[in-house]
Amino acid sequence: MDFLRPASWEEALAAKAEHPTAVPIAGGTDVMVEINFDHRRPEYLMDLNRIGELSEWEVGEESVRLGASVPYTKIMEHLRAELPGLALASHTVASPQIRNRGGVGGNLGTASPAGDAHPALLAAGAEVEVESVRGSRRIPIDAFYTGVKRNALAADELIRAVHVKKADGPQQFSKVGTRNAMVIAVCAFGLALHPETRTVRTGIGSAAPTPVRAKAAEEFLNAALEEGGFWDNGKIITPSVAKQFADLCSAACNPIDDVRGTASYRRHAVGVMARRTLTWTWESYRGAGRTAYRKGGAA
């Protein structure tokens, strides 16, 4: 094994081009487990910790550019207003020690269906900025996950940053596990209200081969909210609408039975989380914040 220590992003891209099998390591919370357990013996290990810009973020007009290695702790502490869904999801990641090291770039690189960031990224709307010596491109989050632990990265590409849309309305994240800390999701659900466009977006974790959106459920809810004038009148969501939304979210799952839970449990739990997160976000929208949201700013 060789240990590569690029001191700059350009050096990292050059090294990845020269050694496409090199495994990038940042927080190490996935990669080191595989090495410790002898599940993986990469020819090259490429440390990204020396590239300072990967641990930085910028808050722009429309979105936040989140460096691939920004640890979850920083997202929780500094980006709760801009990225509430992702901040909530970050807080459910493992333990303080892991949150101090792990970041969204690693979650995307591993592309496990159980990664905690995915539902929040899907719900908020995001683009993954990837680069190689051939050039840079932005992959829409919906096109990023291509299979179980597979993503749209080419062999010579590295994840540089994630561009996540700033919240224009309430967002929620919910996760089922056996306890609060140190738990991998049995299943998870993210929901974001987007009052500016009068749409909702969802993200489902750990209940299909990849993280997925419940698109039929989103379309149904978008239409129901529009039809009932809910965005303007701020009424309580009709229970039948919430139930139909929950059922459609369950239907969007394609889960498996495994040690953490059965497929039918996952479908059921996703429905429950969909209904709950809808209630939480809608209550928050109906509350003091609605006027602010309608003006177009998450004040």
Partner: protein, 193 residues
């Protein structure tokens, strides 16, 4: 490969390090500092917790090469680290803990029951006084994590303590005595101010 980094305030050099090796292995097997414990090797148990540039991390999940040029504090250096923090930084020329002292560090002193005669950090003394140690395997990781929390948050609520220690598993005490110990250390700390 060779790795140069700072351990408990002193520069150290580890040789013949395998590229896939963890910081934990380097500390225990190459530098002779077995205070950080090796249990799950997957970041679940927290018994290998050290501070990397001040931040608590699982040393089993840090690749050795990643610590080049960086600062690590282990449980063996915790007493000196806490003392220097209380003194407002490094006041004398000899700061930190030498490798030899760290290798020989024990919470024994003249009385192993009370820790008397050994210089302990406040959190270590509180663990002894509250009876928060049974087999002791999880203790180093808990001490490092709890000490860092008290540095950041001198008046923690019970929820703060639980969250700060949520990455550290103990299989003997049931955590209540550990909670007592951290509350005790926090109370003593606020009395001193």
């Amino acid at each position: 490969m060779r790795v140069n980094f700072t351990v408990n305030g002193r520069p150290q050099e580890a040789d013949d390090v395998w590229e896939g090796e963890s910081l934990l292995y380097v500390l225990r097997e190459r530098l002779g500092l077995p205070g950080s414990k090796n249990a799950c090797e997957q970041g679940e148990c927290g018994s290998c917790t050290v501070r990397l540039d001040g931040v608590p991390v699982c040393s089993c999940l840090v690749a050795a090469g990643q610590v080049e040029g960086r600062e690590v504090v282990t449980v063996e250096g915790l007493a000196d680290y806490a003392r220097q923090r209380a003194e407002g930084g490094c006041t004398t020329g000899a700061c930190g803990t030498s490798l030899q002292n760290a290798q020989q560090w024990e919470a024994k002193g003249t009385d192993s029951q009370t820790g008397e005669g050994t210089e302990l950090s406040p959190i270590q003394q509180a663990f002894i006084d509250a009876g928060a140690v049974q087999c002791g395997f999880c203790t180093p990781g808990l001490l490092v994590a709890a000490d860092e929390m008290l540095e950041r948050n001198p008046n923690p609520t019970d929820a703060d303590i639980r969250e700060a220690l949520s990455g550290n598993l103990c299989r003997c005490t049931g955590y209540e005595k550990i909670m007592d110990a951290v509350r005790l250390a926090a109370a003593r700390q606020s009395e001193e101010v």
